[in-house]
Symmetry: C2
Subunit: 98 residues, 2 copies
């Protein structure tokens, strides 16, 4: 079965870009050590009016691997308060056959 | 200079997935013939509660190439009404140096 793709768009209030980036880095450092992690790439908007300032695109072996990692106590601790500070919308995706 | 990445999350009302996909395919068929187009990949949510049912990730040589293609009369015609039917949030991104 193909890998799954986690796509996570972040709304970042103006002036809080650096802090959001630090939280993301701490979360990424944890996630990349977990079973099933393949890769992660953070994308930064270059258009000033983009609704989502940051979008993370990561690959995991399976949905279950990502769900286990992201529901762990360690991950919850690192990201505590981040949903309120930087509303984000993580979802798991597969490439659509065209 | 590195390529730019277009990321476009779509909110698709339940039951309208097939129609949204058809609109996307017509738009993609046009865009892939335009100068500066590199690639496009449509991602479909596998988590039932994902806010964005479809997310497109495309690469273009420059922001100007994408902006020229997407502001063309032909593209506007293909996608007429789609912002209301499937709210979406296109933005141009670059990979964040970590």
């Amino acid at each position: 079965m193909a890998n799954v793709v986690l796509i996570n768009p972040f709304e970042v209030p103006e002036g809080q870009e650096d802090e959001a980036l630090q939280v993301w880095k701490r979360a990424a450092d944890f996630l990349r050590q977990q079973p099933g992690f393949i890769s992660t790439k953070l994308h930064k908007a270059i258009t000033p009016n983009a609704r989502f300032h940051l979008i993370n695109i990561a690959e995991w072996e399976t949905a279950e691997h990502f769900q286990a990692a992201s529901s762990s106590a360690e991950f919850q601790k690192i990201t505590a308060g981040s949903m309120e500070a930087y509303p984000h919308y993580p979802g798991l995706y597969q490439l659509q056959a065209l």
